[in-house]
């Protein structure tokens, strides 16, 4: 009456191959979507690049500038969209670090170009933006950067004409290094430059808000901000 059992090893091996195939498909699908993301980032960057060039050309062409014609809000919205995508990719696309870093460099370059253009517009069209350059590093090198990012995100929501440009201090980009040099930033992070003047990290929201409030135009109307790219954990 005994029911002796035999092991069908072939079934164990077949099961392994089927499971491995499911895993392989999941990895392929994940890579496929990540590549799509990178393509989307590239496409946004190209669009921003074209828009910046167009705005620069407009500014150069029009000696008697009609400031109404040179839009900036659309460009800033695109930069925001790009920033949030790069931030997401930095955190979630582990196997494409190098590619994401390249995109981040391109983004930083676009930020610098936007910053310079907006400064020119601000002067020529008498638009009163408050410009904040924010330099961060990862939380191991800059324990206060998370706090600074949170405060700046909050402030740029509250003060639409505060334009925050965020830069990874350690990004290997010559234009960024030049910006760091001319802004007289040391490696004491987080570092913030308000309207061209480096300020000491004020440690809390109220102190930083006080500095920005002092420079903020009373009759501010247009909401123009850029998002910060977070530090990679």
């Amino acid at each position: 009456m005994e029911n002796k059992k035999q092991i069908d090893w072939k079934k164990y091996v077949i099961t392994f191959f089927i499971t491995a195939t499911i895993f392989g498909t999941a990895i392929y699908a994940s890579n496929f979507f990540n590549n799509k993301r990178i393509d989307e980032i590239k496409s946004i960057q190209e669009s921003i690049s074209t828009n910046i060039m167009s705005s620069e050309t407009q500014v150069s062409l029009l000696s008697d500038l009609d400031c109404q014609d040179v839009g900036s809000s659309m460009l800033s919205t695109e930069l925001n969209s790009l920033a949030s995508r790069i931030e997401y990719s930095e955190k979630n696309i582990n196997n494409a670090d190098e590619e994401v870093q390249q995109l981040k460099k391109a983004y930083s370059l676009l930020e610098i170009k936007d910053y310079l253009l907006m400064k020119r517009l601000s002067t020529r069209c008498n638009k009163q933006f408050v410009f904040a350059l924010y330099f961060y590093a990862d939380s191991a090198k800059c324990p206060d950067c998370d706090k600074a990012s949170t405060i700046l995100t909050y402030l740029r929501e509250k003060y639409p004409e505060l334009r925050v440009y965020s830069f990874d201090y350690n990004l290997d980009l010559s234009a960024l290094k030049t910006l760091i040099t001319i802004s007289k930033i040391k490696d004491n992070l987080p570092a913030i430059v308000i309207d061209g003047k480096a300020i000491e990290w004020p440690q809390d929201k109220d102190s930083l808000e006080k500095i920005i409030k002092a420079k903020y135009p009373k009759d501010a109307k247009v909401a123009t901000t850029t998002s910060s790219t977070s530090t990679k954990k």
Partner: protein, 409 residues
Amino acid sequence: MQTIVSTLGTTVIFFSLYFEVFLLISLFESKKKRKELSTLEYYFPPVTILIPIWNEESTIVDTVESLLNLDYPKDKLHIMVIDDGSTDRSLEALQKFKGHPIVEVYSKPNGGKYTALNFGIEKMKTDFVGCLDADSFVDKNALKNIMRRFTDPEVMAVTPSMIIEKPSNILRKMQRAEYSYGNFMRKAYGSIGAIHITPGPFSFFRKEVFQKIGMYKHAHNTEDMEMAMRMQKNHMMIVNEPGALVFTVGPDTIKKLYKQRVRWVSGFLGNLIDYRAMLLNKKHGDLGLIVLPFAAFQIIITFILIGISIHKTGMQVYKYIYQLMTVGFSAPIFDFGWFFVDTSVLSILTVTLFLFIISLIMYGYKTVYGKWRISIEMFYFVFLYSFIAPFWLIKSVYNNIKGVHAPWR
């Protein structure tokens, strides 16, 4: 930390998928054999059905009557109700069957379900015996479908398919999906000779099983699992008959469900420890090599998943509290669009596993109702169980470490 969570999650999903695929292949392989079984001639040997009761005054009459309605020759059927020292009016209710030619009622001092079963086995005069819990009812074809499986002399026990009938609330609906999943598992285990529970409601045995390997034991209050494990240890064949339908009600409150599951899982762990020699033992075939190890692994998996959930929720809560402390209250900003949908390998695999489980529950429905169906209760089962199951798992592990016996009620 992110890497640890991802590695653990991926490992858990790999083993879970491996196990599900293994069972599906096994079922697929046994398709031809199952087709042959469905053409078996009916076989009507004398059989005794034991109903151990303890305070079942509200259901016992219906349970006995469902047995009297069985499509089985009445001169071959013996129903034995064993009252295990009830303190309610169960015995009064059973007066209805006084003098009935095939219903016998016995009363004994309270000693636990296994003592009532042993009492009946000692008194019975047939070569086959089955049991039915007093909160369960049977389909009229259940017994004849079961008994024809005994035409194979190798078969020592047959288990049925269990159904939660007409679930009255979400909790019972979840259990219906769970039982459907259980029916798939039992069918798959049956195809590889790895059934390790002979459920209290309507499992049947040859009398010689008890003569050869002994009577029921206390077995951490899960005598149905221990008996199956003992049979497997002695290489006795247990099969599943999907066409034998047993309806049960299932707990209707979280508290009752929690108590039932603590008893089941504590008993499972206790028996697993008692029969640990079978784990990873080639002599016991797929049961020893994959089914029992995976059952044990499932407990560990649950603890890993609890850990991952606590970590993820904790990170979100920390982030929010941090923001609250830094800048005060401000509405959280969400990013929308396909770009921000999580398409990590772990997420895709989690969705795949989820779809696998839903498909297997659907298969379980097909086994019982004969057609594929999808219903909201499957989602209740997959999502809501994830929140409540950890509580009884933790308590069961605690019970086993501390040597606490989970009570019946």
